[in-house]
């Protein structure tokens, strides 16, 4: 009853001094707009990072051979190389096929897949650029060997031909699957015509030849900037084939990825994995051990970091809200002085102090909320443009909008209270006599 009446009076007042009202709101508008824009950008980045990591697999564990950390029990050998120098990794430090097999047998309930991959021709500095040439055209590629689990986990749509057979994996046959992009570029998109062909990949001065057994559908990577018309696609080969090419067939692995069962708690399983390998195989290793990191915990720490940055930026932007609030307070004080006689009249007509206070607090809240709403609209637009410019789709957080509305109301109440209280406490006689 009184509330709607107050809002109407406030709106009429704002309309009567439209320029003044807009200028007063400006501080709130800028403050809310920047907070919302920052939240939108932050929110979008979080979503993109998370979905990318989700693609890699949130219930994945990365297991790798790493230098022993200095605080672990490495002193028991009595041979210290001194800090700062650690000997190079040798074949003896790697995780062997046998270790993996017995590990998999031990934890068959928890492990769904063990993913292993190896790039052909890769050394310490990465693999050199490779390409397939046909006539005057060529396609950028990289040759990657995958194990059975990897192919099952990272399932690609097969457009023509077949996937690898058990024999291909076991014997390391020189077979491959190529992407439809490559076929499009070199074979005019005729997938079937490629099946059964020999394909030659040149890598620096080295040539590798494979028998094409299948064509898979290429999926572009999330974080690739700009679409190239000649993207680097994978020539997929069986893991054993790649290891034979690299003469690694008898060596162990320094890295693998575990895909765990849905019911497995990854952070505790990470500890289990670490302990399993380190107590069994790495207790006496002087420099290396196995480390296991869960993607979930990586995602958590990544999100925490983004949130921290977002919060810090929002707080800085929020300072302008305080400045805006002071502007509102200032204009409310002016307005109350201007309307002293009105306040006196209202009191003579029977308005209680609380009614007068409520009227002016409502007025200040109305200014702030209108400013807040304009700010939200502006912020969403700015944030969306920013995210679009970075090449992603924007995700506006509803939560931030609700917070923004609540916050602008709070500013209205906080900065409106003092002027409103001053108005409420005016002596009716003085107020009536005011000219």
């Amino acid at each position: 009853m009184l509330f709607t009446e107050n809002v109407l009076v406030a709106l009429a007042g704002l309309k009567a001094n439209i320029m003044r009202s807009l200028l007063t709101m400006l501080g709130i508008i800028i403050g809310i707009a920047s907070v919302i824009a920052i939240m939108t950008v932050g929110n979008s980045i979080t979503l993109i990072v998370n979905s990318t990591m989700q693609d890699i697999g949130a219930n994945n564990l990365q297991v790798g051979v790493m230098q022993k950390s200095s605080d672990s029990e490495s002193e028991d050998t009595g041979m210290n190389y001194g800090s700062g120098y650690v000997r190079d990794m040798t074949d003896d430090d790697l995780i062997t096929k046998e270790m993996i097999d017995s590990f998999k047998a031990e934890y068959s309930d928890d492990i769904k897949y063990i993913l292993l991959q190896e790039n052909v021709g890769e050394d310490y500095y990465g693999a050199p650029a490779s390409k397939v040439t046909k006539g005057s055209k060529n396609a950028n590629v990289k040759i990657v060997g995958y194990n059975v689990d990897y192919m099952k986990f990272n399932k690609r749509e097969v457009l023509a031909g077949r996937e690898f057979l058990a024999q291909d994996y076991l014997e390391g046959k020189k077979v491959c699957m190529v992407s439809d992009k490559l076929v499009e570029r070199l074979y005019k998109g005729d997938n079937d015509s490629v099946i059964g062909q020999e394909i030659e990949v040149s890598q620096g001065g080295t040539y590798y030849t494979y028998h094409v057994v299948g064509v898979y559908k290429y999926v572009s990577e999330q974080f690739a900037f700009g679409a190239s018309d000649n993207p680097t696609t994978e020539i997929m080969i069986p893991l054993m084939t790649a290891r034979l090419e690299n003469h690694n067939q008898n060596k162990g692995f320094n890295f693998m990825m575990l895909v765990t069962s849905v019911n497995t708690d990854n952070s505790t399983f990470a500890t289990t994995v670490r302990d399993y390998f380190n107590t069994r195989y790495y207790a006496r290793n002087d420099a290396y051990e196995v480390a296991a990191i869960s993607m979930a915990s990586m995602m958590d720490s990544m999100n925490t970091m983004i949130n921290m940055i977002q919060l810090a930026l929002s707080v800085i932007a929020g300072i302008s809200l305080v400045v805006g609030g002071i502007g509102v307070m200032n204009i409310m004080l002016v307005s109350i002085t201007e309307r002293t006689k009105e306040i006196g009249t209202r009191k003579a007509l029977g308005a209680k102090n609380s009614s007068i206070r409520l009227q002016f607090i409502t007025e200040s809240v109305v200014i702030c909320v209108i400013g807040g709403i304009i700010g939200i609209i502006l912020g969403v637009i700015l944030g969306t443009i920013a995210v679009k410019l970075m090449g992603y789709s924007a995700a506006v957080s509803l939560q931030s909008i609700i917070i923004a509305v609540g916050f602008s109301m709070a500013i209205g109440i906080f900065f409106g209270y003092y002027p409103a209280n001053k108005a409420a406490k005016l002596n009716p006689i003085d107020a009536l006599r005011y000219e």
Binding site: V9, T345, G350, N353, L432
Partner: protein, 242 residues
Amino acid sequence: MADNIMLDLRNIHKSFFIGTPNEFEVLHGLNFTVNKGEFVSIVGQSGSGKSTLMNIIGALDRPTEGEYTLDGIDIEKAKDSELSVLRNKKIGFVFQTYNLIARTSALKNVELPMMYAGMGRAERTERAKMLLEEVEMTDRMMHKPDELSGGQKQRVAIARAMANDPAIILADEPTGALDSATGRLIMDIFHKLHEEQGKTIVLITHSPELSQETERIITLKDGHIIGESKGTWTGLKAKEGE
């Protein structure tokens, strides 16, 4: 106390700047009563203390000393919030400068005291329309104060004063800012309220001429009542008959 007494002021003193070297007394112990249904004027030159007296009668201010009873309510004992309610329900103010709320329609202005009294929206709008009709402002009720003439504003103000059917109408120089013809019109409205509805009206004015239109004249000078006399008014009908 007699049932027919509306205002009862006894030994009313009012001082300002109490406790400072500038302390001075404006009202020096006033005694008078106003009966229910009476039309009384308080006359005095400026500086006579009539505005101070009006503030006390209107419960906008408290006397420094003395007892004031309005329609049986002891003002001295009432809290500030109770005085708000009292002003709202018992007193209808009419000011020299109209004091309508700017940017608000005539209708909303009349609704205002009823809103503060907590009356429902539909009910108060209906009553406000009825009151505006009585002062012949129906066709201008959606106009804002700055779109109305002085006389029209004062008529709206009278309608507003009547909003909560107050026990007493307190009019402070109601025709002071109007030309004589318009002022005559406003005075006729007061007479109508008095004669037809039996309203108790206290008119505060500096004009002895205007005060003659009331039933009883209380003359104030330098904070003292220096005389009481009967007015020469013989009623609206008598005037029309002239």
